[in-house]
């Protein structure tokens, strides 16, 4: 058992932080088209194709990818600990289903995706992500109500209600998809596949605020999270207010997931694979595991999205395909390697 100390903390997070910075810079110059940096910086404020590719088409999308990769991975870590289940991932909490349903209702009833404010000077209002976020909040309250018994959230009920809620929502989405017209149905399917495509820094900032606040709330609970993986009773005996911890974690991660899914759609496997991969490297201490997973998730999604843009250029692949191609085999490999032992949490 390796013990957490300040040196390891700084070393791991420092290396990951440097890798993340390098990834952001490298990915900003990778894409189906070549960008000339000096030309982009030369006349930044006139309409300049290189600058637009770099600062409007690529950079916001990379920053969004980092936030969502990191947020998903961090949520995966805490949900796996909270639910005591190595399969737990952000998609499992019904919030993602609620966000999808909200987004699709938005796509159907507010077809105008965005309304620029003052000619785009103040950014834009995007109806569909807004509707998705409202959907996420509603489903969060609903699931909270269903998982709450005698004043406490039961992880078992949380898991079951989340899975059932998502399947139920999937059925509603399929129903809506079969009654709307053909082209709308195509649009819905594309939206469901998930994408990091964005040019709005406002949206990116909104996601970063949710993800960053949520992350620090979760990180502050690192020690309690360590104890809760020993089992609820043990944690209770060791002085963790499990009721409160569970509620706080549920609310914090739900808000993060709701915000993320409402902008990017369902991007699977980041929240499942990164936490397991980082446990192999850093061990299971959540004080280190959480920031390390956040940084690694950011790096991973940053590269996955770059691959999605480049592999079949000029066509763009849904980024969820790339994450699944890496995540699926990795998870099976982990199961195989661990043999009969349970996957560590």
């Amino acid at each position: 058992m390796n013990v957490l100390n300040r040196r390891k903390m700084i070393l791991v997070n420092g290396v990951l932080l440097i890798l993340l910075a390098l990834s952001i810079i490298t990915c900003a110059f990778l894409g189906p088209t070549h960008v000339n940096l000096s030309k982009a910086l030369e006349n930044l404020f006139s309409s300049n194709a290189d600058a637009e590719i770099l600062f409007r088409a690529r950079l916001p999308r990379i920053l969004l990818g980092v936030a969502i990769g990191g947020g998903m991975a961090a949520c995966g870590v805490v949900l796996q600990a909270l639910l005591g289940n190595p399969l737990a991932c952000p998609q499992m909490l019904g919030v993602s289903g609620g966000a999808s349903l909200g987004g699709i209702l938005g796509l159907i009833f507010f077809p105008n995706w965005l309304v620029p404010l003052a000619g785009g000077l103040f950014g834009e209002i995007s109806w569909v992500p807004l509707a998705a976020f409202v959907g996420a909040l509603c489903s969060m309250m609903l699931i909270y109500r269903f998982a709450l018994f005698h004043g406490r959230i039961h992880p078992y009920h949380l898991l079951l209600s989340g899975v059932i809620f998502n399947s139920f929502v999937a059925a509603i989405i399929m129903f809506l998809n079969s009654i709307i017209d053909f082209y709308q149905a195509q649009g819905v399917l594309f939206w469901l596949m998930g994408s990091l495509s964005t040019r709005a820094y406002m949206t990116v900032a909104f996601i970063w605020i949710y993800v960053a606040v949520g992350f620090f709330v979760l990180w502050a609970k690192g020690i309690s999270l360590n104890l809760i993986t020993l089992g609820e009773e043990a944690a209770l005996q060791l002085g963790v207010e499990t009721n409160r911890l569970q509620r706080q974690i549920f609310v914090a991660s739900s808000l993060m997931i709701g915000a993320m899914v409402s902008v990017s759609g369902m991007i699977g496997f980041v929240g499942l694979m990164i936490p397991h991969a980082m446990r192999l490297i850093t061990g299971s201490d959540h004080r280190l595991l959480l920031p390390a997973s956040f940084l690694a998730g950011g790096i991973f999604l940053c590269w996955a999205d770059t691959l999605a843009r480049v592999l079949l250029a000029p066509a763009e692949l849904p980024v969820g395909i790339i994450t699944a191609f890496f995540g699926g085999p990795f998870f099976l490999f982990l199961l195989y390697r661990e043999g009969r032992r349970k996957l560590a949490l």
Binding site: H34, E52, R56, P116, F182, Q186, F190, A315
Partner: protein, 300 residues
Amino acid sequence: MKRVHAQIAGWAGFFLVFVALSVTHAATPPQRIVSLAPSVTEMLFALGFGARVVGVTTYCDYPAEAKKLPKIGSFVNPSLEAIAARRPDLVIGVNDANQSVKAREIAQLGLKISLVTLNNVDEIFRAIKSVAGWIGDAEAGEKLVRKITQQFDEVKKRVESAPRRRTLLVVGLRPLVAAGGGSYINELIMAAGGDNIANNAAQPWLNLPDEYVVSRAPQVIIEAGMGSERGQGGINWYDLKSIPAVKERRIYAYPSDKILRPGPRIGEGLEEIARMIHPECFAESKDRPGKGSRCERSQP
């Protein structure tokens, strides 16, 4: 081995039924036709066989009479029961991955089914002729194809002297879904004097990253989506001012099925997109073709 035999027997049976039905159909032209696609429905009506259509899909909304006909399910998922209940003597579908499977099931019900292939303009013309032939009026098919060919020729004549304009045709904005090189729509853009910036992709439809659009700098953007982006014309692009289409306000909302459906209205649709790509070629009165006029001089 047994399974292989069974499969061969099955196919042979399928073939025999097919041949038998083809022979019987030769004797009496079909009177009760079910269409499994909006494009096929449009062909049937344009050929003058509208009165014989007894079932259409939920997406068949043109011409208006087609809307009132009994529905047999959607284009993607037609209901076998509903088709059989219409007691058709001919079912016409589209030869794609989905409907070719359905066709086998429909044939197993003892119904006659024929499929048309609609991947490029030539195939659309051939399909119109085949449909007319199946119904026993090949002349109607020839006539309709002549009419559409004429519409094509007229547009080509008007734009032939004009320089090709880089064009992007999208059906969805978030994510950006554009017509690629592998569809008849690419041919329509070419015929309208455009140059599809996504034609180096083999897919009929593809999701394009924004940066690709910026780098290829389209001069005309046509937003042809019917659904989610209704009436948004151009708002999506306001921040990418280096794109000539954005700078020169050549972004058109074109909420029409005419070119999105591989049917008899592609000729009309072609003229409409040609007017967007080369408005200067259509500036003068309609009875004077545009050759040698303003069209030649004006540069993008």
